[in-house]
């Protein structure tokens, strides 16, 4: 008995070991010695015959303890056909709930499962005590199946699927070659020149994209964690935006203008100050709106008005699509899968950054992790609950702080507005060139940049008084107040530009363009100065002079917000100054390297994990919502509602710039339409997210149920082992003996309680019947002759078993369910055929109970074609699920079964 008890515990390990071994061997990472050992072990196990029979039997019956082995069970159930049918009955097959996450391309939906089959296939066989050769044939079968599936796929997903096999290169090559052989012997698909070409182009584009700043990014990744890297990737991304914008503007607006330029004479001389103020010499240059003349060019073949408008609008559209796309992608990746209730400890454990190379950085990273792990331990052990007065105090603190923030933002807005109207007065009064008053224009951008630099620091200071409960709330609050400040300043400026300026100036677009240019320049200078003084000096002071004052941390949030602000300026200003992206490109380029140097000097990464992925989503969202949408709105307003100046620019004489297009386009609100399409797309993403969330909670519930169920069954089994009353498992043995197959399930009869007997008598006939019918369906129907003395079949029978299995495997391979690509176990069918068991779900896990009560299950073969699974994916979800492939319906079944069971027996505590 102790021995048996030992086996009931140890098997939990057993299949995994075997699975591991097999997968390792299969993947070429193992060796044959191991295989031999495994094979021998199993054979010897079984050859132990009667004396060893008990333990074998227990092993056979054991309930798979974890989901990983569910695949093993599934494999065992589906692949090994008739001979295993009886075994199958007792396994708790939760294959339907396997947590297999499909991440490969959607078209290759089937392949991951195949992959896993390939992986674990030999486990079952090892368990059966098959010889090495047989295991090899079985693996070969699996491979054949895999190859067959792969052949059916289109080329691209197939390549992806092969690539995604977690096996060694050699093995992958092997599989690919076989696939290709099969493919080309059937039909040789000719690759068209077009697809080749497009592939090459996309590849080279991607490569180019990958290699911009590749080395620098790697270096940064070597120093810091991915949160810092996010910032630099963001710079890279914005850089690309601006390069495209510049290319657009140059090729469709500037170059045609230069070619058709009729008078390139500007009556002003160039002054050094012009570079900063953009006034004087640049006033009528192609730098700004005023330098483009629609009327003149229109006489030729190129319609400047149209070009100007359409270029801007197309670019903005492309920008928007790109942002929405990446936003959707990162929301998909990060927000869906994130559930705040869990993941504390594992989040930390999985957060090791393999790209960190620097020894020092590794140590600081380890330290950081250590602190965080300790904190997480504290969190779980003692959760402080705030008392009501404390909470009240917190809330009032937050309120006061926010009032202060808003007040500060308001004051700065007022200052900006006053100064800007004063600027305008000077401009209106200005008739001849006056460097002094032009220099005065610089005050406004300097003020704005100063506000942008100082007020956030003030905010940060105030926020120290606040008491945030967690890091995330603090981060987002900081983000919110900084965004509030920046956007309110931009808002007031836009108000000034679009209402005050047009009514007072003759060539107002150019003036606005110059203003934006000055802003961009000032912002650039301030960020450089801020970098030098704030970060370099700060770190010098922190490391050299005052050791107590630590060097400043690299504040990702503030830096990213600065970038977003600058990008918003560019988007707003690009209509008034088509070459503005040049400034931004130069600026981003310089900032990239400056920040790189600065962080390497400071070298003090933030002490907390940065929530990198989440922050990235937040940044992209910010770039989309206030920034992009705002500038799109402003551009739209300018184009639709503002009267362009009468004496300069491409749209002279028109009521609104859009009139140039409306000649061509039907008076539809094109922009509005596109905008709404974008919003719809966003809404769609949002809906999908919601759907997934719901589904995930459902699935979680189900998994928990499965776990409980299994624990319960395990408890039962243990009870049976311990000889406690009312054991549930022993009927198996009775049943098996009743049908002359006593050997595989040898559980002591002495402990069989009356209940077990009753059940056993019911279930008895069913198993062999199923087995026989399965054999009948196989091409070589050789009824298995049970050998009472041995617990394993004679060696002669093994090849037959293999062939049976092959046959059934093949049958499954062609079953509609497989081709439908839905991951439901083929074994779900028998349940469906039983109208007498209502309320029982279609999960095969439940089946083991259901089948036990169905003595007359003659017609069901072990591998019947699976009916189309009833999936309950969210109604709006049209995309293939990228989730654990679970059938939510099983939950109900599981619960039904559970309640039925718990009605009968009190559930043992585990």
């Amino acid at each position: 008995m102790p021995k048996r008890y030992g086996t009931i515990v140890s098997p939990h390990k057993e299949p995994r070991d075997a699975a591991n071994r097999s997968s390792r061997r299969l993947s070429g990472h193992g060796n044959d010695a191991m295989l031999n050992q495994q094979g021998q072990n199993d054979v010897s196990d079984h050859e132990g015959g009667q004396s060893n029979g008990n333990s074998t039997a227990v092993e056979e019956i054991y309930l798979p303890p974890q989901l990983g082995s569910s695949k093993w069970q599934q494999r065992r159930g589906t692949g090994s056909g008739a001979n295993l049918d009886s075994t199958e009955r007792y396994t708790v097959d939760i294959s339907n709930t396997s947590l297999e996450v499909e991440r490969t391309v959607s078209e290759s939906k089937k392949s991951p499962r195949k992959m896993n089959l390939l992986h674990r296939s030999s486990t079952a066989l090892c368990k059966l005590g098959l010889s090495e050769a047989e295991i090899k044939t079985e693996i070969e079968n699996d491979k054949l199946e895999l190859v067959r599936d792969l052949v059916k796929m289109p080329r691209k997903p197939r390549a992806q699927a092969i690539r995604s096999l977690p096996v060694s290169c050699d093995e992958k090559r092997n599989i690919r070659n076989r696939v290709l052989q099969a493919k080309f012997s059937k039909d040789s698909v000719k690759r068209t020149c077009c697809t080749d070409c497009s592939e090459r182009v996309s590849l080279s584009l991607r490569r180019w994209w990958l290699h911009v700043w590749h080395g620098a990014l790697k270096e940064i990744g070597g120093w810091f964690d991915s949160a810092v890297l996010t910032y630099f990737c963001f710079i890279k991304w914005l850089f690309m935006f601006n390069v495209f914008l510049l290319a657009f503007n140059l090729s469709f607006i500037t170059v045609p203008e230069i070619v058709h330029m009729y008078n390139s004479t500007t009556n002003s001389t160039f002054e050094g100050l012009d570079l900063l103020t953009a006034a004087g010499y640049f006033h009528k240059s192609i730098m700004f709106y005023g330098g483009y003349n629609g009327e003149v060019i229109k006489a030729g073949s190129y319609d400047m008005q149209l070009a100007y408008l359409l270029t801007m609008l197309t670019y903005m559209m492309l920008c928007g699509i790109s942002i929405v796309y990446s936003l959707g992608k990162s929301v998909w990746k990060n927000v869906i899968v994130y559930s705040p209730a869990t993941g504390g400890a594992w989040r930390l454990l999985c957060s090791w950054d393999f790209s960190i190379l620097n020894e020092k950085a590794i140590h600081s990273f380890q330290k950081k992790l250590f602190i965080q792990i300790k904190e997480s331990l504290l969190d779980t052990t003692e959760k402080t609950v705030l008392s009501t007065p404390d909470r009240l105090r917190n809330v009032s603190l937050h309120l006061a702080a926010w009032l202060l923030y808003i007040g500060l933002a308001f004051v700065s807005c007022a200052a900006v507005y006053v100064l800007s109207t004063y600027n305008l007065e000077i401009k209106v009064a200005l008739h001849a060139r006056d460097l002094k008053s032009e220099a005065f224009f610089l005050f406004l951008p300097i003020l704005v940049s100063f506000i942008n630099l100082v007020i956030p620091l003030l905010y940060a200071f105030i926020s120290r008084l606040e008491n945030y409960e967690n890091l995330r709330a603090k981060l987002y609050a900081g983000l919110a107040r900084d965004v509030l400040l920046k956007m309110s300043i931009l808002g007031i400026l836009c108000y000034y530009w679009l209402t005050d300026v047009p009514s007072n100036l003759s060539c107002w677009e150019s003036f606005v363009g110059q203003d934006v240019y000055r802003m961009a320049i000032a912002d650039f200078l301030f960020s450089v100065l801020g970098c030098i003084f704030g970060e370099y000096l700060g770190s010098l002071i922190g490391t050299k002079c005052m050791k107590t004052l630590k060097p400043p941390e690299f504040n990702i949030t503030r830096n990213v917000l600065d970038l977003i602000y600058a990008q918003t300026l560019v988007w707003i200003g690009v209509y008034f100054s088509p070459l503005l992206p040049i400034i931004q490109i130069v600026k981003l380029f310089i900032i990239f390297y400056m920040k790189k140097v600065s962080i390497s000097l400071i070298c003090r990464p933030s002490t907390r994990a940065g929530l990198a992925a989440e922050m990235k989503t937040a940044f992209t969202a910010l770039l989309f919502f206030p920034s992009y949408i705002g500038s799109l709105f402003i551009m739209g307003y300018t184009v639709w509602s503002l009267k362009p100046s009468a004496h300069c620019g491409p749209f002279q004489g028109l009521d609104a710039p859009i009139d140039a297009v409306s000649k061509l386009v039907i008076q539809g609100k094109l922009l509005l339409l596109l905008l709404s399409i974008m919003l719809i797309v966003l809404y769609f993403f949002w809906q999908v997210v919601q759907d997934r969330k719901r589904l995930i909670s459902l699935l979680r519930e189900q998994i928990i149920n499965e776990g409980k169920d299994k624990a319960f069954l395990l408890g039962k089994l243990r009870m049976a082992q311990g000889g406690t009353a009312r054991p549930q498992v022993h009927f198996l043995d009775e049943g098996a003996q009743a049908v002359k197959r006593p050997t595989t399930f040898r559980v002591p009869q002495s402990t069989a309680g009356p209940r077990g007997l009753r059940k056993g008598s019911r279930v008895g006939p069913s198993r062999p019947a199923a087995a026989e019918s399965a054999q009948a369906s196989a091409p070589a129907p050789t009824p298995v002759q049970p050998t009472p003395a041995a617990s394993v079949e004679s060696p002669q029978q093994q090849p037959q078993r293999a062939s049976d299995r092959r046959a059934s495997t093949a049958a499954q391979g062609n079953s509609p369910a497989r081709s439908a690509g839905q991951g439901q176990s083929p074994r779900a069918a028998p349940v469906e055929r039983q109208p007498e068991s209502p309320g029982v779900g279609k999960g095969s896990r439940v089946e083991c109970w259901v089948e036990d009560e169905r003595p007359d299950k003659q017609g069901s073969s072990p591998a019947p074609p699976t009916p189309a699974p009833q999936l309950a994916w969210g109604s709006t979800t049209t995309t293939p699920p990228r989730f654990p492939r679970l059938e939510p319906l099983t939950t109900r079944g599981a619960q039904a079964a559970l309640t039925r069971l718990s009605d009968r027996t009190p559930r043992p505590k585990r």
Binding site: K13, R16, D17, G28, H29, N31, Q66, L67, G68, S69, L99, V101, R103, T104, A159, R163, S164, P166, C169, D170, R173, R176, R206, R207, S226, L229, N334, V337, S339, G343, G344, W346, L348, L349, C350, S351, W352, F354, S355, L357, N358, E359, I362, Q366, K367, L369, F370, I373, K374, S376, L377, T380, T381, L611, I704, E706, G707, K710, P884, R910
Partner: protein, 187 residues
Amino acid sequence: MGGSASQLPKEQLAEYQELTFLSKQEILLAHKRFNELTKDERNPPTRVPMDKILALPELKSNPFRKRICHVFSTSEVKDGSLTFEDFLDLLSAFSDSATLEIKSHYAFRIFDFDDDGTLDGGDLEKLVNCLTGDTDDTRLTQEEMRQLITNILEESDIDKDGTVNLSEFQHVISRSPDFVSSFKIVL
């Protein structure tokens, strides 16, 4: 050995491109770097011993470096030595474009210190020690470790068998969005 990058035949390069997640440049770079490891020998062996691989700056300080070598090695004697193809497998799994499934699969095997197919208490303890560094000031006490492992199992051990298996691990990983970006080694 100078123009070693050109030694890789074109067909083979294309094949590697198809079989791994690496781009052409990355494969060529990997080939170059791999050849550099063996260049001082007269007859470059197909297998590079583990200590040479570990000397690569990309792996030098990584606390999991030995595990990585062992997992990707196809060596019969389990000495962690890598062939060029193993090396490509390694880089492919750690590349930017590898799928979450691949990454989590290999992460699981890397974290499975005793190669038994599950992450049990011992594995988790080793994992935590690797993560926090094995110095005295960053080592957790026995009590803390026990608590942490309990937390981890509570979080991820869905079927309550006391260990974390591959599916459970992948499930957990799928909820750590930072994982894909941090499970990355670039040559």
